[in-house]
């Protein structure tokens, strides 16, 4: 009854109930195994599952709460991701003011997204921030290695703020002709991204032979990649009740999500490898940093948004 009062679409409720059911079963089973075996591996798994609970709770809030709450939630995740990338990247002492200015991209970009100022939303970071940050650096004076800072700072803002802020635009998509609404579109994306990781990993473990990016992430194989994206595409067709997409449209969106998810993962892996880090941070116990979780989602969000806009016209 309460769900009816809160006006949450039944499609979303069903998926969320399923997610939490899986989490409950996993938590119980893992704890039972741990109580028998008592080794570090299962302890790590339990820590990971506990973090999944928090992530799932965040997702549940995101897809059911009003747009303002969702916006604030994504904006904060964006801020933490940006802070994380600023923290692990190499900068000069003279870059501090520019980094400080960079943080202001978060509230401004999400303000634009929330109010659907679409044009300003599109050019604010690629234009305004890409001019403002180098100018601040120039006025700071030190020119040694300035080019490096000029490119890294706006690019990190692009990666963590601009990309992710497209999720907020989903709240403004015309949702009259389907039931699940913006929450459904977001949930569809998140579920597919999460399962895409799982599918690629599983196919890679089962059949993986030919390495796809041996120097960036040695665990990724062509078999895992191809098996993964097609499984994700089929999974997308099965989950299309969250969206207004037709079966063949959902299949294409699933493929694109699979491919860009893989690319985003590889991108962050390459950055981490350059910085000689295993994880971007240790904020989420068992998972690493926020960016370790967001890696496969960052590239897809703008593409997903524009693809949807094109398909739902």
């Amino acid at each position: 009854m309460s769900l009816l009062i809160l006006n949450i679409p039944s499609e979303i409720v069903n998926v969320l109930v399923l997610i939490f059911a899986v989490l409950i079963i996993c938590s119980i089973v893992f704890r039972l195994i741990y109580s028998k075996k008592k080794n570090d591996f299962w302890k790590e798994i339990i820590i990971r599952t506990n973090s999944w609970w928090k992530i799932a709770a965040g997702i549940a809030i995101l897809v059911t709460a009003p747009a303002l709450v969702g916006t604030l939630l994504i904006a904060y995740v964006s801020f933490v991701a940006l802070r994380e990338m600023f923290s692990i990247s190499h900068f000069r002492n003279e870059d501090r003011v520019a980094l400080f200015v960079g943080y202001f991209a978060v509230p401004i970009q999400y303000y634009l997204a929330y109010n659907n100022y679409y044009e300003a939303f599109l050019y604010f970071i690629p234009l305004v921030m890409f001019i403002a940050i180098p100018v601040v650096l120039v006025f700071n004076g030190k020119t040694e290695k300035i080019g490096r800072s000029m490119s890294i700072i706006p690019s990190l803002i692009m990666l963590t703020v601009y990309m992710l802020s497209h999720l907020v635009l989903l709240f403004h998509i015309e949702t009259a002709n389907f039931n699940a609404g913006a929450g459904g579109l977001i949930l569809f994306l998140i579920v597919l991204i999460a399962f895409n990781d799982v599918f690629q990993f599983t196919w890679g473990k089962l059949l993986g032979k030919h390495k796809i990016l041996p120097r960036v992430s040695p665990n990724k194989t062509w078999e895992g990649f191809i098996g993964g994206i097609f499984t994700t595409a089929i999974f997308a067709v099965a989950n299309r009740f969250l969206t207004p997409l037709a079966a063949e449209q959902a299949f294409i969106v699933g493929l694109v999500i699979g491919i860009t998810g893989f690319l985003g993962d590889a991108l962050i892996s390459a950055i981490k490898r350059d910085l000689k880090l295993k994880d971007t941070d240790d904020l989420i116990p068992g998972h690493g940093g926020v960016m370790d979780r967001l890696d496969s989602i960052i590239l897809i969000t703008p593409i997903y948004y524009h693809l949807l806009k094109f398909l739902i016209r």
Binding site: R83, S87, H90, F91, R92, L99, L283
Partner: protein
């Protein structure tokens, strides 16, 4: 009343601000259980250091934990002194020896005798981020005089980037307050004690794969 307000202030304002905005992580706080008196010893890079250590403490310890600060730096204006007494529970000591006043060691000794705990930065002033400079001897003399009080080594990781010495911009960046296990001293030689304190902090510095203090590449 004042104490409750300060505890609430730390719990609901300082701590959330530090963790959610600035990006401070606290770890290993369980070492404070069953510990009445201690001297916290940390490396010093930033004005953020003291407030972060105090925010990391269990609320009940705030009343008895005193921040040791330099009177020649902070004692210049009246309202700074008052604010420091109110929010940091501070003891101002002079870094230069003055014949007419009781020595800094004596002042701190009295506080320890009264059952208070201390937070000290034995480097004496904020050094360059990531570099731990020489420790002043005072901490060793205090520990030698009070062998029943352990010291708690703390490595502050990354605070030199959040607010370094020569800057006024507070930059949110991930940083860590890393507590070590309390250590009791059983030596009479201040040099030995000093190197023991220093080794404990270096140990904490080295047991993480990343050192967030470094900025310049």
């Amino acid at each position: 009343m004042k104490n409750i307000l300060i505890r609430l202030f730390y719990k609901f304002l300082v701590r959330p601000w530090l963790t959610f905005i600035i990006g401070v992580n606290f770890n290993n706080q369980e070492i404070f259980e069953n510990l009445n008196q201690y001297i916290i010893v940390a490396n010093h890079n930033s004005h953020f250091d003291m407030v972060s250590i105090l925010a990391a403490l269990p609320g009940i310890k705030l009343k008895t934990t005193k921040a040791v600060a330099a009177s020649d730096y902070f004692g210049k204006s009246d309202w700074v002194v008052k604010a420091m007494h109110l929010f940091l529970n501070s003891i101002l000591i002079s870094r230069d020896r003055n014949e007419n006043e009781p020595s800094a060691i004596d002042i701190l000794d009295v506080h320890l005798k009264h059952g208070n705990s201390l937070v000290m930065f034995p480097e004496g002033s904020r050094g360059k981020p990531g570099l731990i400079t020489n420790f002043k001897k005072g901490i060793a003399i205090l520990l030698k005089n009070n062998p029943n009080i352990p010291f708690i080594p703390v490595y502050l990781d990354g605070f030199g980037r959040v607010l370094p010495k020569d800057s006024k911009v507070i930059l949110p960046l991930v940083c860590k307050v890393r507590f070590g296990k309390p250590v009791f001293i059983n030596s009479d030689d201040t040099n030995v004690i000093l190197s023991e304190v220093k080794a404990a902090i270096f140990d904490l510095q080295n047991n993480d794969e990343r050192d967030r203090n470094k900025f310049d590449f």
